[in-house]
Symmetry: none
Subunit: 156 residues, 2 copies
DNA sequence: ATATTTTTTGCATAATTTTGCAGCGGTAAC
DNA sequence: GTTACCGCTGCAAAATTATGCAAAAAATAT
């Protein structure tokens, strides 16, 4: 679900910037940001994100992100073709290309794109599941798809 | 109390060398080592030791000793803004719309935008307080504001 | 498209964790 | 010796968190 990716981002953002002492409290803050879910789901989210509950120096309970965020979630990453796996769609508007990816794969695919399409794309920005790429002047959408077909055969 | 010191050492030794999923389980192992206490006391011990409960790579719950890095808990900035207030401004340039939000609200608002303006926006990328949205070809800024007015009435 | 499989979610409840309170034992001041 | 205080503990209850299950939603295959 699309929602989950952004919800994960919101959870991480909240617990890294504020003191939250319980899941109910975190739920409340998520709700204020427009994410509606139950405590059960949040518990499962925290488990997936490997968030831990611990005590800060003031003796309050707090939630903490893992020190190194390996956010793989056990998907096939290194084995197969991660690039073609990650890719979902591409769409153009003017000098911008918007690439949608599977949740969490945007930045890795953006890296591949940067490398591969240096001649036709001047830069990319990646979110969780979306990449925005700026196309070089006097290059076309066709040039982009051609360049990207090297790493994404399915792009046609 | 001397007993407590030894008990603390035993707790640290156990949770750093074995997988324990609950306090009852840890209690059991402490008992095997000759420490008799109740789960209530253990809970307080763990709080003092700043032990955290988290998830390992196998998806099991485990207890974890603190890393020496005691990271401060960061700013506790406004978390009580109503959601309608997340939006601050929107500005257009060519086929790009830039939305500013209150700090931290960008990704949740981006989610709303993705959902609401599917027909006029082909993709968004969100940072902390800024969203970049790419407008579909032959759609206009007016189309965008109209679509967004559903979720942001103040957008005019 | 339709069908099948997988993932996500809420509900209700179970399991676990936290805490208020009172008692105990030790210590220091009087 | 008595009193006051303080940290530690268990008990019981409250609070919080985790999960089995069924339904809904998405993803994927046909």
């Amino acid at each position: 679900m699309k929602n989950k990716v952004k919800r994960f981002a919101a959870i991480q953002e909240i617990i890294s910037t504020t003191v939250v002492g319980s899941q109910e409290e975190l739920l409340q803050k998520l709700s204020e940001k427009g994410f509606e879910l139950t405590q059960a789901t949040l518990s499962r989210d925290l488990k997936q994100l490997k968030v831990s509950k611990t005590t800060n120096s003031q003796g309050e309970y707090i939630y903490q992100l893992p020190t190194r965020n390996l956010q793989d979630e056990g998907r096939t990453f290194g084995n197969d073709f991660p690039r073609s796996n990650a890719f979902l769609s591409i769409e153009f508007s003017g000098n911008i290309a918007v690439v949608h990816t599977r949740p969490g794969y945007a930045s890795s695919l953006a890296y591949e794109i940067d490398e591969t399409a240096k001649g036709t794309i001047i830069g990319t920005v990646a979110g969780e599941d979306t990449i925005i790429a700026v196309i070089k002047e006097n290059k076309t959408a066709k040039d982009v798809t051609e360049a990207l077909s090297k790493i994404i055969p399915s792009i046609k």
